[in-house]
Amino acid sequence: MNNSPYLRQAASVQSVMLRVLLALLPGIAAYVWFFGAAIVLQIVLASLTALAAEALVLHLRGKPLAIFLTDGSALVTAWLIALSFPPLAPWWLVVLATLIAIIVAKHLYGGLGQNPFNPAMVAFALMIVAYPQFMSRWPGTDAIDFATQWQIIFGLHANQTLDALTMATPLDALRTALHSTNATTVTVASALAHNPAIGLMAGRGWEWVAAGHLVGGLWLVQQRIITWHLPTAFLATLFLLAGLASTINPSEFAGPLFHLFGGGAMLAAFFIVTDPVSAATTPYGKLIFAAGVALLTWIIRSFGAYPDGIAFAVLLMNIAVPLIDMATQPRVFGHKKNGSNHHG
């Protein structure tokens, strides 16, 4: 017989994870609309791999399969990997990344709830270091048909024409232009003006994917799956930094909207920095954590060697989480901030 409380809210890890998956759908829909169904193929690949890997490890660890396999956490990891990887990457890249995320980053650290690093970001960081050539296979908006996408993903396509079919992301395009040999004459404005990948605010199509993630993310806040702290601090910091830098030196630094709607900023704000297991948990801690991720992301984007630094930024901040949480313990009822009581 259990003890009080005897009443429980009808919440479960499963329902939390399911709603996170649901919230990803608007972004995925925009993705398919602009870039074709390749992303769906990658999501399926990642999901199947994640479930198989999860089942295998759970079996080896002697954990109950039924409960943990259906908790949805592996699927969330899989979808996030698929959504942050280039959809035209070879099939084995996503499979390998998912295996690493589930087996190494999640279960070697103790499984659900125990991993100090965000599994999807561990996988992304490893893959971009190991296989940078495949991590740049982004589709252009002039959609290639699904059959061709299928051929590219499964390596059935002649390699020489591949470059013509893929296209750099807005962040990539900007970086390449600014860092090219005649960089002195290229400014942000000129680089973006002549680029077919650029749309209204950021990348053509990409801005709509980002908008989809924004919608899904706001729904998660409304559903109280995530709190406002992490996304707000992340987006605000990125906005301010980019705004400040682009005001001071508009020819060298991209503007805030470009940062928010190009690349994975929206996905990161609502779905990646919000991973409860590896993020800070106290209210102030969340603000510091997310602001830190944004700061590092902007630095890596602006000065680093990789086009999008979110994965590295998240992993670096993951290391600091225990410290942040310890330093930001909220005031306990009746206590002053320093832990002592009112009136001495």
Binding site: N2, S4, Y6, L7, A11, V13, P276, T281, G334, H335
Partner: protein, 573 residues
């Protein structure tokens, strides 16, 4: 009036309508009453009657054991059949000393006399309330007379009357306020006068509009300018004393502090009613209102004589056939009872019949995903998942650092946790382990002190012996050689010369006091403790049954908490 907010809290389904449809019913006096002597926080009252005695309704049958205790009375007239151990309404199913009365059906009162508190000193009034058995009826059963001292400057800023009643299902305060608002207010007047309170705030959750209206009317009818009835937002646990004080005054009383130090004191409406009956009517606390709800056909409130069997009471509300458990209190903080065959006591605000359908067993426990839902829900502003990690890993020092003892065990965290972790169980476990460690440590400290004292004595004795020996050898040597030796030489020689001698003298005897190591001290302390424990059974033969019961209750509670918490603990412990 400005209201304040407390963080956290939850809004479960309240299920209060069912039991508020009919007025309070008077539960018929049973033939046999089983009245436990220990019904409040504090010492167990001494029995004043023995088998065969005739008692009147309201007669004192248990005298308060010192000031930290509260008296017990016969709930009806009749004969004492026995003073014996009976099962208590407690999850452990333990027995305690009870006075069993066979009612004579005449329900004959003692001579009732009101008590004019205005012509008595404060101390006399407090003693009167103690001897009238008045305790907090919100469920905590803290002796009321111990809360009757105003704070600094001999007056209180704000007296708070708690009619919030935030636990689902429970409606006894609601009905009491609806039906007996004037009597409650008369009790409030007494409290106000005794505590010299500047103002009185009656806090009632806004889901009880009828109670608010009745209480407001009673305040107005009495012309009390200094009293206000305040509807507070409905959110569990708004009826927690600390939370209600916060909502009404903005003051946060920290854990372990007296609220009077902050100029506030809080009493339950039922307690105010009991004070009115004791002081104005001369009737000690012999009955209370009990909600019977949950898995019953006719949920209702009853005025019940203390000592009535719960089974008899439950039957009146017709429990449904699939009832699988009985809970005393509400679904958030109540305790499961091991049997229906226990008496209604002063702490019984509600008897909740449960079923698998009403309170389904919790789904399997998952790992904590650090989602922070529990922290958002915690009214004490704790980080429940951190407390959980530390309690589970038995890092009790850390748990205390994270304010484990500020946890009021309200259950909000367990209620919201998507991983279905029975968080409160872990806190109960950790708290009981810390208490146990502390009392063990106290025992070990005492043993160590004794040991160190003995060591000191033995060392001193050895030293003295050595000194005597040294003096003797020194004397002999002095005699053998010529007397030219300087006095200082002799004394400086004495120690090194004496030490080996002393050692050889004591070695055959294997004195333990020699070169004691810290380990040896610890072992000795442990042995001492074991010895003390061995001695204990012999001692307990001299204990009164109630003392034995108390010891057994404490032990059983610890054992039970351990047993309940252990299945969840990692297997390696």
């Amino acid at each position: 009036m400005q209201l304040f907010d407390f963080n956290g809290g939850v809004t479960p389904d309240y299920h209060k309508e069912a039991s508020t449809q009919s007025p309070i019913a008077v539960s018929p006096a049973p033939t046999f009453l089983v009245i436990p002597l220990h019904q409040s926080i504090g010492g167990t009252p001494r029995p004043l009657v023995s088998a065969g005695d005739r008692v009147l309704k309201g007669q004192r049958i248990g005298a308060a054991d010192g000031d930290m205790s509260s008296a017990i009375h016969a709930s009806t007239s009749g004969h004492v059949v026995a003073v014996e151990m009976r099962r208590m309404p407690h999850p452990s199913g333990l027995s305690a000393l009870c006075v069993v009365i066979k009612a004579d059906g005449r329900d004959e009162w003692i001579a009732r006399q009101s008590f004019d508190y205005r012509s008595h000193t404060a101390a006399e009034t407090r003693d009167y309330l103690r001897d009238a058995g008045v305790v907090g009826l919100g469920g905590a059963v803290f002796p009321t007379h111990l809360k009757m001292s105003p704070g600094k400057g001999d007056k209180l800023d704000t007296l708070i009357i708690n009619g919030a009643e935030c636990e689902p299902f429970i409606t006894c305060d609601d009905l009491l306020m609806r039906e007996r608002a004037e009597a409650i207010i008369q009790g409030v007047v007494i409290l106000r006068d005794l505590l010299a309170a500047g103002r009185v705030l009656v806090g009632i959750e806004d889901n009880k509009p009828q109670a608010v209206a009745a209480m407001t009317a009673a305040v107005q009818a009495g012309g009390h300018q200094d009293m206000a009835v305040v509807a507070v937002p409905t959110r569990y646990p708004a009826g927690g004393a600390k939370q209600l004080i916060r909502v009404l005054t903005g003051i946060e009383v920290p854990h372990g502090k007296r609220s009077t130090d902050y100029g506030v004191q809080c009493f339950n409406v039922g307690t105010a009613h009991a004070i009115h009956e004791a002081i104005n009517l001369g009737q000690p606390l012999i009955s209370r209102i009990v909600t019977v709800a949950g898995n019953v056909a006719a949920p209702r409130n009853y005025e019940v004589l203390l000592g009535t069997s719960m089974e008899a009471l439950l039957t009146q509300s017709q429990p449904l056939p699939d009832t699988d458990r009985l809970i005393m209190g509400g679904p958030m903080m109540g305790v499961s009872l091991p049997s229906k065959d226990v008496p209604v006591v002063k702490a019984t605000n509600c008897i909740l019949a449960g079923s698998k359908k009403l309170f389904p067993p919790p789904p399997p426990e998952m790992p904590c995903i650090r989602c922070g839902e529990c922290a958002t829900a915690c009214p004490a502003d704790l980080q429940p998942f951190e407390l959980y990690w530390f309690s589970r890993a038995k890092i009790f020092g850390k748990a205390q650092e994270y304010h484990l003892f500020d946890c009021i065990e309200c259950g909000c965290c367990s209620y919201v946790c998507p991983s279905h972790i029975p968080l409160v169980d872990y806190y109960r476990f950790a708290k009981s382990e810390i208490w146990a460690n502390e009392s063990e440590k106290a025992a070990a400290d005492q043993a160590r002190e004794q040991y160190e004292f003995r060591q000191l004595r033995e060392a001193r004795e050895a030293q003295e012996k050595a000194a005597r020996l040294a003096a003797r050898t020194a004397a002999g040597r002095a005699a053998a050689t010529n007397a030219l030796a300087v006095a200082s030489d002799a004394t400086s020689d004495a120690t090194p010369a004496a030490a080996p001698v002393a050692k050889s003298a004591t070695t055959p005897a294997t004195e333990p006091a020699q070169t004691p190591s810290p380990q040896a001290a610890l072992i000795a302390a442990a042995l001492e403790r074991a010895r003390a424990q061995q001695v204990q059974p012999a001692n307990t033969t001299n204990l009164t049954p109630e003392q034995q019961a108390e010891i057994a209750a404490i032990e059983a509670r610890r054992a039970q908490i351990r047993a309940q918490a252990h299945p969840h603990l990692p297997p390696d412990d």
